[in-house]
Assembly symmetry: D2
């Protein structure tokens, strides 16, 4: 037995950069949270504390701000690629870069001037990019999180296994609610038109959620992923995490009241958690794209 260093990475997490573009009196706002993880020739820093191969996380943070000024901020996938390629190209000791970005959405305040904004939506757009440097592999995963959706009917659940610990009653009409985390991998990392692709994929998710008469949350999840793949050729794999945000019908009989799917208790914990992948089986698997 020998004790050795295994997989490792380091970087600056959660750099909150806000970029304003002035187009005359009309301003454009981008609001990001950037996380960087680098890896490479890092044995010495772990074994002896020799930092000769280490680009400080403080410099990584500075790079985010400087790049926002030098290059502006396009789609977050592009900004992430720009950063990831920079670190792997510029530093011989950095063999691999992972850049993760969250984007917060803002709308213009109606009847406001061109420089007034209001945060819109709980939902966050995400990007996760990997780069192995010039000539090396790259991957781009787009996504969203905190997209909360609910169908107040059109959802059933029955025909399941009943074991000695089963008390759940089957139902043919329940509320189905979830908070979608979706991520999708681009077939050709550098070639997608990310802005339009995101909007379309998001629309696919919403429409498939709304349009699926559901016999289980798994069925809805699969339909959502499938819809994205059917409509978006630039996407080859979709991963979804969907907690079942239970809405329990309240028993009002003790108070002499019926409750015909009208009054629900929205529970916090525990909750069902459904996770699944839908993919084009012809696309090469890239497990590293998701980590």
């Amino acid at each position: 037995m020998a004790i050795v260093l295994g997989p490792n990475r380091y970087g600056k997490a959660e750099t909150r950069v806000v970029h304003v573009t002035r187009d005359g009196d009309v301003h454009h706002l981008r609001d990001l949270n950037v996380g960087i993880s680098l890896s490479g020739d890092m044995d010495e820093v772990h074994l002896t504390g020799d930092n000769a191969a280490v680009l400080p996380t403080d410099s990584q943070k500075n790079t985010v701000f400087a790049f926002a000024r030098e290059h502006g901020i396009g789609e977050i996938e592009e900004f992430a690629l720009l950063l990831a390629r920079h670190f792997t190209a510029a530093q011989p000791t950095i063999r691999h870069a992972r850049v993760e970005i969250e984007e917060y959405s803002w709308s213009r305040i109606p009847s406001g001037s061109g420089h007034s904004f209001v945060r819109s939506g709980t939902e966050v757009r995400t990007a996760l990019v990997h780069s192995d440097g010039p000539g090396g592999a790259e991957s781009v995963v787009s996504g969203l999180k905190d997209l909360v959706v609910l169908n107040s009917t059109g959802s059933e659940f029955h025909g399941f296994i009943r074991d000695e610990y089963t008390t759940l009653q089957p139902t043919d009409d329940r509320v189905l609610a979830t908070e979608v985390t979706a991520r999708w991998r681009h077939r050709d990392p550098g070639r997608s038109e990310y802005g339009g692709s995101f909007a379309a994929a998001r629309r696919c998710l919403l429409e498939a959620f709304a349009g699926t008469h559901s016999l289980s949350l798994q069925q809805t999840l699969y339909a959502m992923g499938r819809r994205v793949l059917e409509e978006r050729p630039e996407i080859c794999e979709v991963r979804l995490t969907m907690p079942n945000k239970h809405h329990f019908l309240v028993d009002l009989e003790p108070f002499g009241l019926d409750n015909d799917n009208e009054v629900y208790f929205a529970a916090d914990r525990p909750y069902g958690l459904i996770e699944g992948t839908v993919l084009d089986d012809a696309a090469p698997a890239v497990p590293a794209a998701w980590t």
Copy 2:
């Protein structure tokens, strides 16, 4: 010296009730978080544990669900009044009821059926109602929280006190961002048309924020409260809490770059916190309405 019981109250907090109204295939969704606090003849329960005057918080929770079924859920101010009046009227030992409601907003999923919804906005609508029972005083405070707004220009800050601990430089162009918590008291608790009033007050807040060239966040706060009072005669007092969500211009000079109000670091802590009241001086003060 004698040790005595002072002010006290008790109740059920955070009952999460969701109500669905079916209008044929078109459903309507209300999603609330209800908090109840009751007070009255509660000496015995504190001094000896005698619960004869205590309506269990569990029964309060049941009442929320049953009332949603019996009365439906109108505007949250109305639902809060209904509950507050019930407890004070039904139980002789309950002299005072306070009901606080948060409402989460949902939009219809475009091109979805009539029963598909998506959570919209980080923002929460609020109501706070007090009732002293039949013939007693009542108050209604409406509001919102988590309304995040930003002006990317049109904000200055200078002319302030400089003491021996002051290093801040004056500026005539900064980002001004805040997360608004606003509450407003209705002049005549039972008479407002709460839905329209809320939409209009919210619009006033947004427009005054966007439309005020700001020399200080205090000035913006006052303008927002004033706008509500000017336009909404049913409202007599506005209280605002507005953290200054600092966006610091990043110094890019070390990298040979200028930064003409383009790249900002969005800081978390510490933050300025501005709180203020704007009111009609002819309206009687009701401090108890806000607690």
Copy 3:
């Protein structure tokens, strides 16, 4: 009707200052979160944006750091008083200062050197100080929050009101759990020995919680406040907020199992919320001390 400015205040919230004292190789660590709110002659800044009366919140933050260096950090009540007195004495426009401090506790790592620490406990010590300036009123409220306690027996709940919405069954043996927020007002603001007073008050709260056979959470709350007043003459008023963190006995009968107070579900929401005050009726009321 005239629209006027009402009560207002402003300041820097959540300045996170950490202070290290080196006593040879043995270091001492203080870890605080400081919030400052000032008020005074602030009409102009609200009405016109004239900042001539305004000490920037940035300067307030700097003062916290500079005072930590100049004066060290004694008990948090003392540090809060120092700051509050400074602002009201130094600036004629500042008539009133409110300083709120949270302190996070650290323990030494056993068998570590004198400079190695581990965060201990979820619990936070608090102080809230008001000062009206030289010769003016002062108040000091000490406290704690996030103190989570549980009695696994010795708690009953019965004899309560039963109305048409009551389904709760009485019990003579339940789990009683709560997360205590306690604050206590010092009789003579400048005279307490705050460190010892805090430790003793905390011990009173814990011992009264543990030692009270409870017929209601209100009874326990009152016993806790009373214990502090009985044992600590320097304290004249105690305010407690105690959510009832429900632990529901799980019905295991469907699985052929009994459950003799052995297996519980720890619920999140809704929860009972009990708030109460215990005071020496001879002490003058100072409502402003608590806001």
Copy 4:
């Protein structure tokens, strides 16, 4: 191209079970948060909504409560194994079970009775177990999270790469603080004495953190993992995630004050994030153990 279902799993997350053992007047308390994820023959439920292979998450939750009654709760690794083995043995469609448990620690209230407890520490003990069913593979990963530690000296950082975006100054005396998430894999899943192993591994982590004169957080991380492996033969791999909780020395020169490592600002974001693995290179890799 064909669209297919990829990896998937489902289960009940965050079942909060509290178990009380009565040993005469002395009670023992276990407070857990249990997450279950099952996978197996789940194509049909995704493709058609046929639930014939699905054990409801509600039944999984019931199983947690029933098992707590039937078997008591030993070490969390054992309880997780019991559950994981049950699901894979009992249901032919369930090929794989993953059980994750968090345990919250409680201490006895001093001078309280045997049934009075106070939550102790921010720190959470964790277990993550995988089982492929009777005769199949098993893995057990123990761990902890939210362990916050700080060295107020004995930490340096210099000799790092300087690129065009580097402004950080080298230092030979800084505060080093982190919030440790550590997980460690047991060599022989069923054979460890988990309680003693956990206490010893935790002690190793603390002592190595305290005892390492640090030239980089990576060096400290590696020393911590190495210490566990050196002292605990039952453990073959350690994974650590350690954010660098920056404490910035405050520049007090503008106020005419020095600051000889005395006053720090504790920053929230951004932060460095260091992740690494230390392992026995003779132990077979089991990547699935960690997912």
